[in-house]
């Protein structure tokens, strides 16, 4: 269970999150929608531990742990996963090395034996099949020269390998054609489980045709202004984000609470 309370964050002195409240129970999938500049990606980055953003107020309680007190790598090892909107290219580091280093960092933390090369290869090949990635991507540099869809598949592959407790997907659908979107959505759906929560950030309703959320929240000017079931996404699709501005915001302040 993750409880975000009154979260305020700034970047270069500019306020981006302005008192955000959200609770996601174990096993639930919540979608966060919102127009550009509403703070969606900032929320993802703050949860993952990016120091560029300064948290000025509020708290994030994650199963009794003060999430904001942990550096990024410790959050990852404790089971938080961010699927990046713009996965970084790292020329010179093979995807295989990167994936193995990441998996073993997390296995060490969990007190599991580290994978040797053989075990790792067997495991990763199985997961790659599931997201329809060719084996050659193991031996290429991390994300280098990958198409948009290939980068996002690589993110979902990492999510599958790292078996997070909480996954935050930051616009994983952006720039994908419909086939790639389906593959990515299937990868995500396969990972849904009662122990795993997901926060799916998206600009478009389209992704939610394939990843059906338990709840939908609308983010505007750094706050959740409206929450509801998946029909809220359809309403947004129909009326556009402008419609939110005209709605009374008062009931939405509690929107994230079950």
């Amino acid at each position: 269970m993750i409880k975000i309370h009154n979260l305020h964050a700034t970047v270069d002195g500019k306020a981006i999150l302005n008192g955000l409240d959200l609770e996601v129970a174990d096993g639930e999938v919540h979608a966060i929608m919102g127009p550009n500049g509403s703070g969606k990606s900032t929320l993802a980055q703050v949860l993952a531990g990016r120091e560029t953003f300064e948290v000025t107020e509020g708290s994030v309680d994650w199963d009794g742990t003060d999430l904001l007190a942990l550096p990024a790598e410790e959050r990852a090892r404790a089971g938080l996963f961010l699927a990046f909107q713009y996965p970084v290219e790292i020329p010179g580091v093979s995807n295989a090395y990167f994936l193995k280093a990441a998996v073993n960092a997390i296995r060490r933390h969990r007190g599991l034996p580290e994978y040797d090369a053989m075990d790792f290869l067997a495991r990763v090949k199985t997961e790659m099949k599931a997201v329809d990635m060719k084996e050659e991507f193991l031996y290429r540099s991390v994300n280098e020269g990958f198409s948009g869809g290939e980068k996002k598949r690589n993110e979902v592959l990492q999510m599958a390998l790292l078996e997070p407790k909480l996954a935050v997907l930051d616009e994983t659908d952006s720039g994908l054609d419909i086939d790639a979107l389906k593959v990515v959505a299937e990868g995500v759906n396969r990972l849904r489980s009662p122990e795993r929560s997901m926060i799916v950030i998206t600009h478009y309703q389209r992704l939610l045709d394939y990843i059906v959320p338990d709840k939908v929240h609308v983010l505007s000017q750094g706050r959740i202004v409206r929450s509801g079931g998946r029909e809220l996404a359809l309403e947004l699709e129909e009326h556009g984000y402008g419609w939110i501005e005209t709605q009374p915001a008062a009931p939405a302040a509690q929107g994230g609470r079950p």
């Binding site: 531990g49 020329p91 010179g92 790292l162």
Partner: protein, 436 residues
């Protein structure tokens, strides 16, 4: 008595014993070179080409002879990693036959220590040797005092499959070691030559090393230099190539050792359609200093040169790069690309990168760029967000930055050798071994 007088004195004493002492052309050349060195002295920062790398301190320095340590074991390790090849090992200023294994050579290939070649191949040596006037004063010092090195001569159309490995270990030489290598490839010939400069057990030796390369029409020479000298060493080197029509030359200069290392690397396109790759990677830490000066002369049309230098600068280390490209007026359709990228790993480290393009032709494609920066924050965060701790993430990205230079080395055993030399320098290198 000044240091320059000392060198004069040494030369008087040594001259009769220097290799080729009986060859009048060489005796004259050595004498002229010595006078030139005595006249010019060590380069100082007053000279434009030595602005960042003054050698004035050598005027005062006492050289301490190095001890080779276990030379046999060092050579054994190298050979185990690259089993193929023709091996010439030099300890101090002399060829060490017992440690060498030249192996079988195809017809048309001459490969031998230069001191021997002065007796049996004097004409070839004379034609390829260069002049007392070449280069700056350290090169003149080298001409006056050189004792050994290698001669590789390939006749028309001969391709030497396995690399030639020249291994230089310091040891016992009192006045520094002065080495000269000559590579002459006739039309269509091909070879790969690797120069390894290994650290001795101790000492602060002076090395001057000049390699001259003549690539005939359509010849191909791949040259790799791996400088891993000991912390106190002074390493002054020049690589000078001349390329005839259609010749291809690749230079990989990896500079990881020495207190001060200077490499002057130049090539000149004397015929149409030449290709050159100048690839470089350097790493300094502590108070170490490395300087590469390169010059590519597009003297003929339709030549292509690609130049990539990368520097890793840690501690209070300093890296200097000056890359000149001259495209002559009638060198139309030239294609010249140059990049120098530096990674600063500490606040005290310093990089100077200066590209210089002089273009006198009008139909050319030329591009250059130089950067000095730090590790990319987005990449660091990406790795940390996957559970890698920050030091490991930094090491990985530092290695990755350098790996782009390694990737340009064509032969896998040489690339692997360069990689392990680099990893030995980087913190966390053993952690990164699995990158291979």
């Amino acid at each position: 008595m000044s240091a320059l007088d000392l060198w004069r004195e040494r030369h008087r004493a040594l001259a009769p014993q220097l290799p080729g002492a009986g060859l009048p052309w060489l005796a004259r050349l050595r004498a002229r070179a010595l006078e030139r060195f005595a006249d010019e002295g060590w380069p100082t920062s007053r000279q434009e080409d030595w602005r960042h790398t003054s050698l004035a301190f050598l005027e005062q320095s006492e050289l301490v002879a190095a001890n080779a340590g276990d030379a046999a074991a060092a050579v054994e390790r190298l050979r185990a990693a690259s089993p193929d090849g023709h091996w010439l090992v030099f300890v101090g200023d002399r060829f060490a036959p017992a440690l060498s294994a030249i192996g079988a050579l195809p017809a048309g290939v001459t490969l031998m220590p230069l001191a021997d070649a002065l007796a049996t191949e004097a004409d070839t040596v004379e034609a390829a040797f260069g002049r007392a006037e070449d280069g700056d004063s350290p090169q003149a010092l080298n001409a006056a005092f050189f004792t050994d090195g290698a001669l590789l001569r390939l006749t028309r159309g001969v391709a030497l499959e396995a690399p030639v490995h020249l291994v230089f270990l310091p040891g016992g030489e009192a006045h520094g070691r002065h080495l000269r290598n000559l590579i002459v490839a006739d039309a269509g010939a091909a070879a790969t030559v690797v120069e390894h400069y290994l650290p001795g057990a101790d000492g602060s030796t002076l090395t001057t090393a000049i390699t001259r390369i003549e690539a005939g029409p359509d010849a191909r020479i791949d040259h790799l230099k791996l400088q891993e000298e000991a912390e106190g060493a002074i390493h002054l080197a020049g690589i000078e190539a001349r390329q005839a029509r259609g010749a291809r030359f690749a230079s990989h200069s990896l500079s990881f050792g020495a207190k001060l290392a200077r490499n002057d690397i130049r090539t000149r396109f004397d015929g149409e359609g030449c290709e050159a790759l100048l690839n470089g990677l350097y790493h300094v830490d502590g108070r170490r200093h490395v300087d590469h000066h390169t010059l590519i002369e597009h003297a003929s049309p339709r030549g292509t040169s690609h130049e990539f230098y990368r520097g890793l600068l840690d501690g209070a280390g300093r890296g200097v790069f000056r890359g000149r490209i001259i495209v002559a007026q009638d060198a139309q359709r030239s294609d010249a690309m140059q990049r120098c990228d530096n990674l600063l790993l500490s606040r005290q480290a310093e990089a100077d990168a200066r590209p210089e393009l002089e273009i006198y032709a009008d139909d050319v494609k030329c591009a250059h760029g130089a950067t000095v920066g730090q590790l990319d924050e987005d990449s660091l965060f990406y790795l940390r967000a996957r559970g890698l701790d920050e030091p490991h993430a930094r090491q990985l990205l530092t290695y990755a930055f350098a790996a782009e230079a390694l990737a340009r080395i064509g032969l896998e055993p040489l690339r692997a050798r360069a990689r392990s030399a680099l990893l030995a320098r980087l913190p966390g290198g053993e952690l990164l071994e699995a990158l291979a």
